[in-house]
């Protein structure tokens, strides 16, 4: 059973065949303000920026009430496909 990230549209399988959990995190996107040429004005060397409302399933700790793992950011959620 695969999962689709509602933020970036990426698809993945949460549990790998070897029993490991897979932690999806949205990829960065192109920086529209990227401008490496000093002759053209304000330089912006950051080629990519973080995707707005990105999802990052990596665990930052455990919820003190539910004892469940807490992910970095849920983004727009996921859809099971």
């Amino acid at each position: 059973m695969a999962t689709k990230c509602n933020t970036c549209g990426g698809t993945y399988t949460s549990v790998q065949p070897d029993g490991s959990h897979y932690f999806h995190a949205c990829a960065p996107i192109d920086n529209p303000a990227y401008q490496p040429d000093p002759k053209k004005g304000a330089v912006n060397l950051q080629q990519t920026i973080e995707r707005p409302n990105k999802r990052d399933e990596n665990i930052t700790g455990t919820d003190t009430v539910t004892s469940q793992p807490v992910m970095v950011s849920a983004g727009a959620g996921v859809t099971t496909i």
Binding site: T11, Y22, I59
Partner: protein, 295 residues
Amino acid sequence: MATTPTTPATSDPRNTPIASGKRQILITAAQVQPPSPLYLQPEDSLFFGVYSPTFAGPFTLTLTIRWLRPDGEIVSVKRTLNCALGLTSLTFTLGEGFMLSATVANPNPIMKSPGTVWVELYVIRNTPETPPFLWALINDYITNLHSPSWPFGRITSPQEGPGRVRSITGTTPALGAEISEVVPFDVRWSLQAFRISLLTSAVAGNRNIKFIIDDGVNVLFQCDGNLTVTASQSAQTTLSNTGFINAAVAINTGLAPLAPMFLGAGFRIRTLTQGKDAGDQYSAPQYLVQEWIDS
């Protein structure tokens, strides 16, 4: 009338007289003292912890203790822990007595490699003047064929020794998007190979694939593949430490050099494609890492 000579007794360590001098060390056969250095009181507890940052589970581990009671009886004490992703722990008290041994057993056949599941056993006592963890008895990885035990086991750190070999299938990005894979929380990777496939659209133009490794924010490694991908192609490029090949070794197959390095939690391996078209499609990357718990 002749008599038959007496047959001498056969040599046996149990009935052979000691021909040399008296032993200097005497062994006590009564009122024997307990053999273990670990005398526990009712105020002492045992903390049994299992940590699995990436192995999804659920799985069950068993801690078995040989416990010498004050009345001289040795009993077996068994505690079972149902584990899942993250930290699972159990704290319990056995009362007064002597701990002779402790062993963690793993009936889960899928847990084959070190680097997967970490087990620890501590003697703890809640006192205001000291931290509760008084003595580490077990600190080790557990596998199908390795049962961490006390007292003749080893105390190690999770970054030591061979790690877990993992072949990971990553995320298939949306159309026109780049690949990005992140090292999970509390894990360290040694990246061995990272293979991607790119199906380009019919829009004319050269696509050049760059591989980037960053620490989550700052780029610390960047290299180009040797393959230029044109329109309507299916190309495979591998980031690996096998060296650089200056030309495509086969049609639409490229290589990019990878320096040997460890990647910490939050580090990313990603692509940056020059000349990318919105209709270009990456498939899910397949990559090989060696993994350790890094907590």
